[in-house]
Symmetry: C2
Subunit: 334 residues, 2 copies
């Protein structure tokens, strides 16, 4: 039996909204008997679902943050939105973690403003698992902080390392700076300053990694600013999509290629699933007082389920406490 | 008959050196009867080759710039290296273009320092054709300038647009800023400043593009700083490599999958060739007084041949003059 955990879930998140989130919640509850879900959303959506599912509590709210809204403004104004209400469950101790497949920006803003930063953490950061076919790696930051200072990247490196060691259960993870050359003096002035600081302050820092190292799984942790990281993960996504599209075109050429495709279908589906964002279900916002997992807008039921499981795992492994212990003492000596 | 063109070629460039460059040169000479090659490299390599090939002139030199050397320092010190000597052929009018598959950094430095910037161009930039399976697009800058000012990106956008219109023969190309969100106010402060300036000064600017838009061929030109651009193109490279590796693993599972793979081989090879860097042979350094095409370190014979053809085409289409006419008057009014 695992530790009992309460996770607040945004019923409205994702492009498909409740129609995908609710089956995902149901599956997560079924697979984890020690999980409780606080389902945040309109009363007519969350109440009937909670009544018909064990360990699900309805948390009705009246507002919704749309995908296009300015994140920080929306979070400040829409106090009764599913994202803000969900984060408030964590802030006020009714839940230990929050999951949403809604607006990434709003989740980051609410995670930081409502749940709150850990002491000593300069900037919470979005960390994502990149499901490379070679070896999954994590990248941090991938979009919470478009503008960074070198000292932020030191914290990103430490936080992501803790995540990889614990949630991904990987021993002695290596950490590389995403840069444009392997030599120390390569890159922008910012990248060079980061390299210098990472070398001094991050024990598992091994040097620069490049764009081609990411999908090849060359290092366990890639640390970068949120701008470069976001471009990188979306580039991987687009490249995979374009390639699979082209391969599908080859399959459709004639009856023989269709037959060959049928033979390979199982294996290729495994490759495709292996690199799918659904496998992990979401990206953790690290550096806040609790767990906050942000799912992809196009999340499937499986992705929602896995995202909720990831939130529960992040809570059970006390990732937030481990980060606090690592970051706070480091800052105390400064 | 096309215009007669002389291209200086670095005989030592590329991971495999002369053993790949020389057959590439031979093939280029064979395919283009109006091409002359000034082959720069050690006398014992270039002289016998020039003697046995029409329209090839040996330009013996005694030094070589290795891949790991500091580019600007190497270019300043090694005045008799194949890269510097090759660029000097252009500077002194004996050739109109230069091709090398050697150190990218050294080619950029020599292109800028030896051949020289066009009047009004703040920073020459490396522009690459990204061979997306959907539609090839160009990105500029991809590594010449890791640190940029917003006004540089305005010039990158204009130069890359000229390249796409002329060399790629694409009408009304669209230009997008590589950013982390489609809305105008998205991205780092730098990206927001760039957006503002591009909107004002670049007629074919259509707004922000994201990482996933690149391989999907959503816009014709992606403009970015050299750091982000370099991460992006290397990420595409690594993702393609990782995916094809995983697919190869599926093929090898059993006798039936091997048979299916044999049926699909032709089509998949076409997809693979379509996204291969070899198809275009190199990336042009735009904004200098002549053509300078930088090939990939792992260039094949075909890549070398295509890189030389690209240099000849860039010269014949007067890309450099067109850039000078576009950039210089714009600056004259400032």
């Amino acid at each position: 039996m695992s530790e009992k955990v309460s996770i607040a879930v945004d019923a409205l998140g994702g492009d498909a909204g409740a129609s995908v989130v609710l089956p995902g919640v149901a599956a997560a509850l079924e697979e984890d008997a020690d999980l409780e879900v606080l389902l945040c959303g309109p009363a007519d959506v969350v109440e009937p679902f909670a009544q018909s599912h064990d360990r699900c509590v309805a948390v009705p709210c009246t507002e919704e943050i749309a995908m296009g809204e300015h994140p920080a403004t929306a979070v400040r104004k829409k106090k009764d939105s599913s994202i803000v209400v969900g984060c408030r469950q964590v802030k006020e101790g009714r839940a230990q973690g929050f999951f949403s497949a809604g607006s990434t920006g709003a989740c980051l803003a609410a995670g930081t403003l409502v749940i709150g930063r850990l002491k000593g953490v300069a900037r919470p950061a979005l960390c994502t698992i990149i499901p490379s076919p070679v070896k999954p790696v994590v990248m941090c930051d991938v979009g919470a902080n478009a503008d960074c200072k070198p000292e932020y990247l030191v914290q990103f490196a430490k936080m992501a390392t803790i995540y990889v060691e614990n949630v991904m259960e990987r021993e002695n993870p290596t950490c590389a700076l995403l840069n444009i050359g392997s030599e120390e003096a390569k890159g922008s002035q910012f990248a060079q300053d980061c390299h210098e600081l990472l070398k001094q302050q991050v024990p598992n820092f091994v040097g620069n990694g490049e764009g081609n190292d990411v999908a090849m799984g060359a290092y366990d942790v890639f640390v970068t600013d949120g701008f470069t990281g976001n471009v990188c993960i979306k580039t991987i996504e687009g490249t995979s999509k374009a390639l699979f599209g082209a391969i599908k075109g080859v399959f459709k050429r004639n009856a023989l290629t269709l037959l060959a495709a049928a033979i390979l279908k199982k294996g290729l589906t495994e490759v495709k699933d292996g690199i799918s964002a659904d496998t992990y279900g979401g990206a953790p916002l690290l550096g806040i007082k609790g767990a906050c997992i942000v799912g992809h807008g196009s999340s499937s039921e499986t992705a929602i389920k896995n995202g909720i499981h990831m939130a529960a795992k992040t809570v059970r492994l006390h990732v937030s406490d481990l980060i606090a212990q690592t970051i706070a003492p480091a800052n105390a000596h400064e």
